[in-house]
Symmetry: C2
Subunit: 211 residues, 2 copies
DNA sequence: ATATTGTATTTTGTATACAATTTAATCTAT
DNA sequence: ATAGATTAAATTGTATACAAAATACAATAT
C-alpha cells in the first residue's frame, strides 16, 4: 500500500490544509507562491497541484493572474454544505444499513459506548466520535462518489471548529437510534433518522447565524 | 464578465473534456503529456492544471509517476452518482420552490411546452430539455455547494450518452408535476416528486446493468 | 521458447528561466 | 494635498532544462 501521490505536492497539500483548517492564515489572505515555496524548500511547480487540490475543496480560491486566496468562511456556504450533507448522509445511511459488516458495526458502537450513561461527557472527545461516526457511515456506504466529496467534509470541520452545535444529551440518543436502525438493516429508517438528526443541527446553525 | 481562467489551461480543459465525453479517447487510454502538449501547441505546464480539473471531475485518473488515464466508465459508478443526484436534486427542488423567479419559472415551462400533447417526440431534443431542466433546478436552488459538484453532472452526461433511460411518455408528466409543485411553492412535494422521478430512472439504469 | 537481468529510451516531476501582467511606488497636474 | 498618469518592482503563467523513475527493448540464462 504505497501511495505516494505526486511526490511533493501531496505533502504540501496536507500541510497547507492543516494550516488553513487551524486558521493559521487570515481569511482572504493571499498565498504568495514564492513565499510558500521557500517555506517548504521547493520550487513553485509542485505548489500548483497542491493549490488546485485545496481549491477543489474550497479551502482556497484562485483568481487568475492574481493568485490564490484563503477562502473566507461564509455562513451561507456552511449552511449550503450542511443541506447537501443532510441529503447525502441519508443516502449513505440507507446503504450502510445494507452493507455493514459485523466489525464495522462494532466499531461504530465503540465510538459512543463510553458516553452511554456517563455523568459528564468530555465535549472534545464526543465531538471527535461524532465526526468519525458520520464519516464512517459515508465510507461504509461503499458509494464511491460520496467519498470523493471532500469539500463537504471540510465545511463540516469548519462548522464544528466552533464546537458542538447541539449538546450530547440531545444528539447521543439520536446517534444510537441511527445505529440501531443500521443494525436492524432498516435502511429506510436509518435514512429518515439521520436526515432528521443532521437537519436539526442545520437548523441550529441557521438560528445561530440569524442573530 | 471577463473570466479568463488560467489563460491556456482552461481552454485545454474544455477541449479535452469535450473530447473525452465524445469518447474520442479509448477508455483507459493514457494521456501522454508531450503528445497532448504538442497537439495544442503549448508546453506541458498548462496541461497540469487542465489535467487536474479533469481528474477532479473523475474524467481522468492520475497515477503518480505513471501518468493520466481516461477513466473507464463503470456501471456502479454511474449508479452511485445517480444515487447522490437523487438526494441532491431533492434538496435543489425544495429550495427552488422557494427561490424561483417568474422568469425562471417561465423558462422551465418553455423547455417542455413543445412536447405537451405532441404526437411524436424528438428524442434528442427532449433529452436536451430534460438535462437542462435538471441542471437549472440545481442552479435556481441557489445552493453554492450543489453547483460545484461537476462530477455528478459528468456522470449524468455519460449515462445519457446511451439515450433516455425511460420514454418521454413516462417522464414528461413527471417533469410537469415537479414544475407544478415548484410553481405552487410546495418545496416538500417538489422534493418528493423529483426524488421519485430520479429514483425510477436510477432503477432503470440498475436493471439495465444487471443483464 | 520462456524467464530474467541489464541497458536504452521514454516519460514524468521538479527546478530554473523568462515574458506578460499585476501591484507598488513615484511623479506630475489640478 | 489629492487624483491621475508613469515608471519600477513583484508576481504569475508558461517555456525550457534536467534528474529520477518507468517503460521498452535487447541480451543472457534456464
Amino acid at each position: 500500500m504505497e501511495i505516494q501521490h505526486q511526490d511533493l505536492s501531496y505533502e504540501i497539500y496536507k500541510r497547507l490544509k492543516a494550516m488553513i483548517l487551524a486558521n493559521e492564515f487570515e481569511a482572504g489572505a493571499k498565498l504568495k507562491q514564492e513565499q510558500i515555496a521557500s517555506m517548504f524548500g521547493v520550487s513553485r511547480m509542485p505548489l500548483h497541484r497542491a493549490f488546485q487540490m485545496l481549491e477543489n475543496e474550497m479551502l482556497i480560491e484562485s483568481i487568475p493572474r492574481r493568485g490564490y486566496f484563503v477562502t473566507k468562511i461564509n455562513a451561507n456556504q456552511l449552511i449550503d454544505a450542511f443541506e447537501c450533507r443532510e441529503a447525502l448522509e441519508g443516502v449513505a445511511a440507507r446503504r450502510a444499513a445494507q452493507n455493514i459488516t459485523k466489525d464495522q458495526l462494532e466499531y461504530l458502537k465503540s465510538l459512543f459506548e463510553k458516553f452511554i450513561g456517563a455523568q459528564e461527557i468530555n465535549v472534545p472527545e464526543y465531538l471527535e466520535s461524532d465526526q468519525e461516526f458520520h464519516n464512517m457511515i459515508m465510507k461504509i456506504s461503499g458509494n464511491q462518489i460520496l467519498n470523493r466529496l471532500e469539500l463537504l467534509g471540510n465545511n463540516t470541520i469548519r462548522t464544528f471548529r466552533g464546537g458542538l452545535l447541539r449538546p450530547p444529551r440531545e444528539t447521543l440518543p439520536e446517534h444510537l437510534g441511527i445505529l440501531a436502525a443500521i443494525e436492524k438493516g432498516d435502511g429506510e429508517l436509518a435514512e429518515k433518522l439521520i436526515r432528521e438528526h443532521t437537519h436539526k443541527s442545520m437548523e441550529t446553525l441557521r438560528e445561530r447565524n440569524k442573530k
